[in-house]
């Protein structure tokens, strides 16, 4: 399933580069880049780590696309 990703906006709002966020989350810049481009859906632990370092909720970072079944 494709997620709606808000990592880029939140990261930029915090004044962080991809490299800064990668360092804080202890992953590679490439991984942050692929998450932001929706190429890669992160694991629960990485999603929670990103939320923690960006000081937001996981729901602020990732969103399920709207479907009529909701």
């Amino acid at each position: 399933m494709k997620l709606i990703v808000h990592v880029t906006e939140i990261r930029k709002a915090k004044g962080l580069t991809q490299a800064d966020l990668a360092k804080l989350a202890n992953v590679s810049r490439k991984t942050i880049n692929t998450i932001e481009k929706s190429v890669f859906v992160p694991s629960t632990s990485l999603a929670l780590t990103l939320a923690k370092v960006l000081d937001v909720s996981v729901h602020d970072l990732f969103e399920l696309p709207y479907t009529d079944r909701h």
């Binding site: 992953v27 590679s28 991984t31 692929t34 998450i35 992160p42």
Partner: protein, 131 residues
Amino acid sequence: MPTSDSLSTFHLIMFAITGLTRLAYVLKTIAWLRPDPFPFWIPGILDRIIAAPIFALAAAAGRKSAKQAFDEGHIMGKRRGEVHAFWIALMLNAIFGVFMATGAVALPTAFVRWAPSRGRIIYCCSTIMMQ
């Protein structure tokens, strides 16, 4: 001191070298219709040789950078490359089956159909495209 970025780039270059060697082996085999266009052990030994500089660079970068470079994003890319390569190798199996049935290719030559199964070239291409 090497960073996680330089480590993953170096890793990608090393994989590209081994992947291209395998590709060269396959293409030469098909072009020359012989199973040993160059010594068969070269691609295999190259896989082992590249481990040394990757390990040395990872050691120089430190544990934290190495963990960052080989994180879950890296594992996902590697798995994706292997999955695509498996299907490509399976497709080549069918193609080489036809070649062998028509007598165009001998059995020893047809063994190269499994050469892409390591998926290194595909891994390199998909990683570069994702950037």
